[in-house]
Amino acid sequence: MVENTGISDIVKDENLVYQKTKVLTDKVMHYCPGCGHGTAHRLIAEVIEEMDIQAGTIGVTPVGCAVLMYNYLDIDMQEAAHGRAPAVATAIKRLMPDKYVFTYQGDGDLAAIGTAETIHACNRGENIAVFFINNGIYGMTGGQMAPTTLSGMKSSTSPYGRDVQMMGNPLKMTELVAQLPGTWYVTRQAVHTPASVRKAKKAIRQAFENQKLKKGLSLVEIVSNCNSGWKMSPVEANKWMVENMFPFYPPGDIKLEGKMVGKE
C-alpha cells in the first residue's frame, strides 16, 4: 500500500533545485501558454526578491494583456488608464523618491495611445524603470495592428498585411527615446530562450539598480511573442519572432550610462 505523501514530504531543502519567488503570488496566470508576459513577470518578481525591495517597490500596470499583473506580483500596485502609466509613475516617484517605481506596458499602451506620456517621462528623466513588452500587436483586444506591427505583417485590422503607404510605418519607440537626454539606460531584450531570459533578467535588475543613482529613466524593451494574436503555435511564434521581429527590433543595448552604444 502506498502511503499518502504531501508536497512537503517531497519538497525538502536538500532536494530543492528551483523555487518560485515569493514575490509571485500563487494565482494562476491568465496568459496564453507560451506568452512572454508570464516570463517577464517572473523576472521582475525575482529581481524584487533578490534586491529585497518588496516593501520599497510600487508597480504600475497598463491596459493590455498585463492589466491584471497586480494579481500575480505580491507588491503594491496601481492600474493606470491606457497609455498613462508613465504619468502615474511620475507622480509616485516624485512623492516617494526613495521607492523603486516601475511601469509595465505593451506596445499599444506605450507607443500609440501613451506616446506623449512615454516621451515626456523619458525626457524629464524621471527616475523610474519602464518595462516595455513589444509583441507587435494588440494582444488583449484580439490582435489588431499596433504601432509596432511590422510592414507586411497581418493583424485583424491589417488582414492583408500592414501596408505602410496606407497605415504608416512601424515605430521604433526604444531607439526614439534613447535619443532623449533624460534616459540613462535603454536596452532591447527577449525572453524566448534560457540564455535570453538570463540576459533580460540582468537588464531588469540594472533598471532597478539605476534608480539608486537618480540619473534618469531606464527602459527595457522585451520583444515578445503573441501566439494568439499572431495565430501561431508558441514554437512557431518564437521562430517567427527571431526571423521577422529581430531584424527590425534587434536585441542589444542601445544606451548605457547615458551614452549611446557605439557612438563616442
Binding site: 492600474e79 498613462r84 511620475t90 509616485i92 512623492l95 516617494m96 521607492k99
Partner: protein, 354 residues
C-alpha cells in the same frame, strides 16, 4: 498665522493649496487659470512645505499624475479650464472608480470647443452628472468669492478624503481673475501618515494594496456600483450646503451659484426697491444638490428664475427638485457675457409679472 491679503481668485487657490498641506499639484497652462501654476512655481512650495509642483505635458498627463499621487494616499490637486477639464474626464472616471480622493479646480470659460477665454457656467452638466464614463459623481463646490476660492481648497481635501472621492471646485474666469481681500488660513502640516489603502510599499505586516477600477466579474462590478451609489446618497443626506438671501417672505425666488449668485444678491435688492419681493437661493454644493430646501421654497413662492451663464443647465435640476409645484424659468447669457443685476430684474418681470 492667519493672514489678510489682496489676491486674485486663482492665486488664492494656489496659496490655499500650499497652506492646506497639499502634497502635490500637477497642471497644464490654460486661460483663465494659468495663474495657479504660475503662482505655485513662483512660491517654491518645495522649499516652503516640500510640496511637489509639476507642469505636465497635457491635462491628460496631469490628471493621471493626480491618480498616481492620490493612490499613494497623498493630498493632490490639479486645475484647468473647460477644454482641459474635458481632457481630464477619463482620468476622473478612473479616480472615481478607484475611490481616490483629490481636488480638481475648473475655472470655467465659455464653450463649446475652444469657445472663448471669458467666464461662463456652461460646464455644469459635466461637473455634476459625472462627466466621464460610468455611473459616478464628483462632489462639486461652487465658490462665489475669492475668500471661498481659498476656503474650499481645504474643505475640498477634507470631503474628498472623507468619502474617498474626487471633488471639483467649479468656478469661472471672473472669480479666477478678480481681486479681493482674503483671509488665508494658517499653514497646515503635510500628512505624515497615510490611509491604510494607499500604495506606499507592501510591508510584511499587511496584504498588498492594489488601486484599480477594473473588475471583470459582473456581479462584483454591480456590487461596487451599488457601494459608490450608497456613498453618493450619504453625501446627499449629510453634505448639502446652500445659502439663502431674503427668502423668508419672498414671492419670487432666484436660484444661482458662483458669479451669478453674487450678481443676484444685487438683483434681490433692486427688485425689492421696486416692490418685488425677491429672494435668492445659492447652492454651494452643486452635487449634492440642495433639493430639499428648493422643494420647501417651491411651496411658498409664485415663481422661480434660475440665473446661469449658460443656456440653462442647473435649471433642469431645479425643475426636478421642484416637481412641478411652481413655474421655473431660466435666464442666462452665454459666450463670456456676464448679466447685469438690472438684466436679471427685467427677466424676472418679463417671466412672472406681465
Amino acid at each position: 498665522m492667519k493672514e489678510l491679503k489682496l489676491m486674485k481668485g486663482n492665486e488664492a487657490i494656489a496659496e490655499a493649496a500650499i497652506r492646506a498641506g497639499a502634497d502635490a499639484y500637477f497642471g497644464y497652462p490654460i486661460t483663465p487659470q494659468s495663474e495657479i501654476l504660475e503662482y505655485l512655481m513662483a512660491e517654491k512650495p518645495h522649499e516652503r512645505t516640500g510640496m511637489v509642483v509639476l507642469q505636465a505635458e497635457s491635462e491628460i498627463a496631469a490628471i493621471n499624475m493626480v491618480y498616481g499621487g492620490a493612490a499613494c494616499g497623498r493630498k493632490v490637486i490639479t486645475s484647468s479650464s473647460s477644454p482641459g477639464i474635458s481632457l481630464k474626464q477619463e482620468g476622473l472616471s478612473y479616480i472615481a472608480g478607484s475611490e481616490l480622493p483629490c481636488v480638481v479646480v475648473n475655472v470655467v470659460r465659455g464653450g463649446p470647443g475652444l469657445g472663448t477665454i471669458q467666464p461662463a457656467q456652461s460646464d455644469y452638466f459635466q461637473a455634476v452628472k459625472g462627466g466621464g464614463h460610468g455611473d459616478y459623481r464628483l462632489i462639486v463646490l461652487a465658490p462665489q468669492s475669492v475668500q471661498e476660492m481659498a476656503d474650499f481648497v481645504d474643505l475640498g481635501f477634507e470631503l474628498a478624503f472623507k468619502y474617498r472621492n474626487p471633488l471639483m471646485i467649479l468656478t469661472d474666469g471672473a472669480l479666477g481673475q478678480m481681486m479681493e481681500k482674503v483671509w488665508l488660513q494658517e499653514q497646515k502640516p503635510r500628512m505624515k501618515t497615510f490611509p491604510e489603502w494607499a500604495t506606499t510599499g507592501k510591508t510584511p505586516d499587511r496584504e498588498r494594496n492594489i488601486i484599480t477600477s477594473l473588475d471583470l466579474d459582473s456581479a462584483e462590478q454591480e456590487k461596487f456600483n451599488m457601494k459608490i451609489q450608497e456613498k453618493y446618497r450619504k453625501m446627499e443626506a449629510e453634505e448639502v450646503r446652500f445659502e439663502t438671501t431674503d427668502t423668508e417672505d419672498a414671492e419670487y425666488l432666484l436660484v444661482a451659484y458662483g458669479t451669478s449668485a453674487r450678481i443676484c444678491q444685487k438683483s434681490v435688492r433692486l427688485a425689492r426697491d421696486k416692490g418685488i419681493k425677491a429672494g435668492l437661493l445659492r447652492p454651494v454644493t452643486l452635487f449634492p444638490f440642495p433639493k430639499k430646501i428648493l422643494s420647501e421654497l417651491a411651496g411658498k413662492v409664485r415663481g422661480i428664475l434660475t440665473v446661469e451663464m449658460s443656456t440653462g443647465q442647473m435649471v433642469e435640476d431645479v425643475r426636478l427638485a421642484v416637481e412641478g409645484k411652481v413655474q421655473v424659468e431660466h435666464y442666462g447669457r452665454m459666450g463670456g457675457i456676464i448679466p447685469s443685476p438690472e438684466d436679471i430684474v427685467d427677466a424676472l418681470g418679463k417671466n412672472f409679472l406681465k
